[in-house]
């Protein structure tokens, strides 16, 4: 029971952070697989079932742009942050820093 509650709360906590991490990582263009690896290399593990729907959602919100291109003999969908996404990222990053500072004090 405790484990389940912890897992749900952990997922909830991670959800918002993932958006921030994905937007920040897509300041340079990447396709899904390399984005996932880049995030994992920095300690932000994310599975395909979470990442790809998230990318679609962010794209439909106008925060990301995507393009199908051939690379290594296969078509890949490349994503990058849009100008609206950059603005949102800037504001979210400021919000994150403020929350972080507050929590440091509280904890």
């Amino acid at each position: 029971m405790n484990h389940e509650v912890l897992e749900n709360l952990r997922l909830e906590l991670r959800r918002g952070c993932l958006i921030l991490a994905v937007l920040a990582e897509l300041r340079s263009e990447r396709y899904g697989y390399t984005l996932r690896k880049a995030l994992a290399d920095q300690g932000m593990e994310i599975d395909e079932g979470t990442l790809y729907p998230l990318l679609r959602r962010l794209e439909s919100q106008g925060l990301l742009l995507s393009e199908w291109r051939e690379e290594e003999k296969r078509n890949k969908r490349f994503y990058r942050i849009s100008s609206d996404g950059k603005l949102i990222l800037k504001q979210l990053a400021a919000e994150w820093k403020s929350i972080n500072a507050s929590l440091d004090g509280i904890l």
Binding site: Y31, G32, Y33, R36, D47, E48, G49, T50, Y52, P53, R56, E59, L65, S66, E67, W68, R69, R74, N75, K76, R77
Partner: protein
């Protein structure tokens, strides 16, 4: 790689139709990239158990697909594809049962309006079917949410691959073209030389005047039918050929049905002075009229279904084009 394709096929089944191709293309690339990287590290192809492990990490096909759907309150996105398939299958079955009951009523010698009344119960039956199925799935969603979904599933047991390419082979199209030509010539000739259709029955029955009135429509139907098949042969990459052909033919069929249903006599007795022959013609007209009503309903459903399919494919393509697919 067959197991990967079977997995993607199962995911595809539960995805929103407008984005299916795009999502599967991206997932396939992601899975293949992972396999390539693992194989490069191991310096050998992945074994079957390793492929199974990789797919199990992705999760059940239904669960993965459900992440691409919007959250629903009554029936969650994981159950929704199964709910939708069950609902459409049950509504179709209910219609089929009523259509058979309606024909049985007519065969039992009841009036035309009595057999139509059986069919007119469909809206009520459909509403009840919808209510019960929604209730059952809502309950499943509510109680199912209290149990953890088992992780024990085996990608090796996924359904086998089905032919996903909607295009027919060149041989199939040539065979179809030959059959359509033979049938078209037989039908158009038979409307003029009626013994070609009625055979020895010509001594008792003939076509009513309406068949000659709408003869140009039949010529048009045959030509359009042949042209659509020929165009699918000439442009084999035209994947929407099948749905377009079905839509056009169903729409033209509706025009023909309109004239036939409104005609006073579809068939007339060759010898109208005999009461038995008149009675035979009357009964046949009655049965065929009922069949035409059922055919009209089926055609309307086909027109709606194919239009929706074409529009959703179009929307999917527009989406892909927007993102550069």
């Amino acid at each position: 790689m067959e197991m990967i394709d079977r997995y993607l096929q199962a995911v595809r089944f539960a995805l929103p139709s407008a984005q299916r191709d795009d999502i599967i293309k991206e997932l396939r690339d992601s899975i293949l990239s992972q396999i390539e990287e693992k194989e490069a590290t191991l310096a050998r192809p992945l074994s079957e158990p390793e492929q199974v492990e990789l797919l199990k990490k992705l999760g059940r096909p239904c669960q993965l697909a459900s992440r691409y759907r919007q959250q629903r309150h009554m029936i969650g996105s994981a159950l929704f594809p199964i709910y939708w398939k069950t609902l459409t299958a049950s509504l179709s079955l209910a219609f089929l049962v009523l259509a058979v009951a309606s024909i049985a009523t007519a065969a039992a010698g009841k009036t035309f309006s009595a057999s139509l009344a059986v069919l007119s119960r469909y809206p009520g039956v459909a509403l009840m079917t919808f209510a019960w199925i929604t209730l059952v799935f809502s309950a499943l969603e509510y109680f199912g949410a209290k149990f953890r979904v088992s992780d024990r599933w085996d990608p090796r047991k996924l359904p086998p691959l089905v032919k996903s390419d909607p295009r027919k082979s060149q041989f199939e199209l040539i065979a179809q073209l030959v059959i359509q030509t033979i049938f078209g010539v037989w039908w158009l000739a038979g409307l003029h030389y009626q013994y070609l259709i009625f055979g020895p029955g010509i001594a008792f029955l003939r076509f009513g005047a309406v068949w000659h009135t709408i003869y140009p429509l039949f010529v048009l139907l045959v030509i359009v039918d042949l042209a659509l098949t020929a165009s699918r042969f000439a442009w084999p990459r035209w994947t929407q050929g099948g749905p377009v052909a079905r839509l056009v033919m169903s729409a033209l069929g509706l025009i023909v049905l309109y004239f036939l249903i409104n005609a006073p006599d579809l068939f007339v007795a060759t010898d109208p002075s005999t009461p038995q022959m008149q009675s035979l013609a009357k009964n046949i007209n009655y049965g065929v009229n009922l069949g035409l009503v059922v055919a009209t309903i089926v055609n309307v459903i086909n027109v709606v279904k194919e239009s929706v399919r074409l529009i959703s494919r179009r929307l999917g393509r527009v989406h892909q084009a927007t993102v550069g697919g």
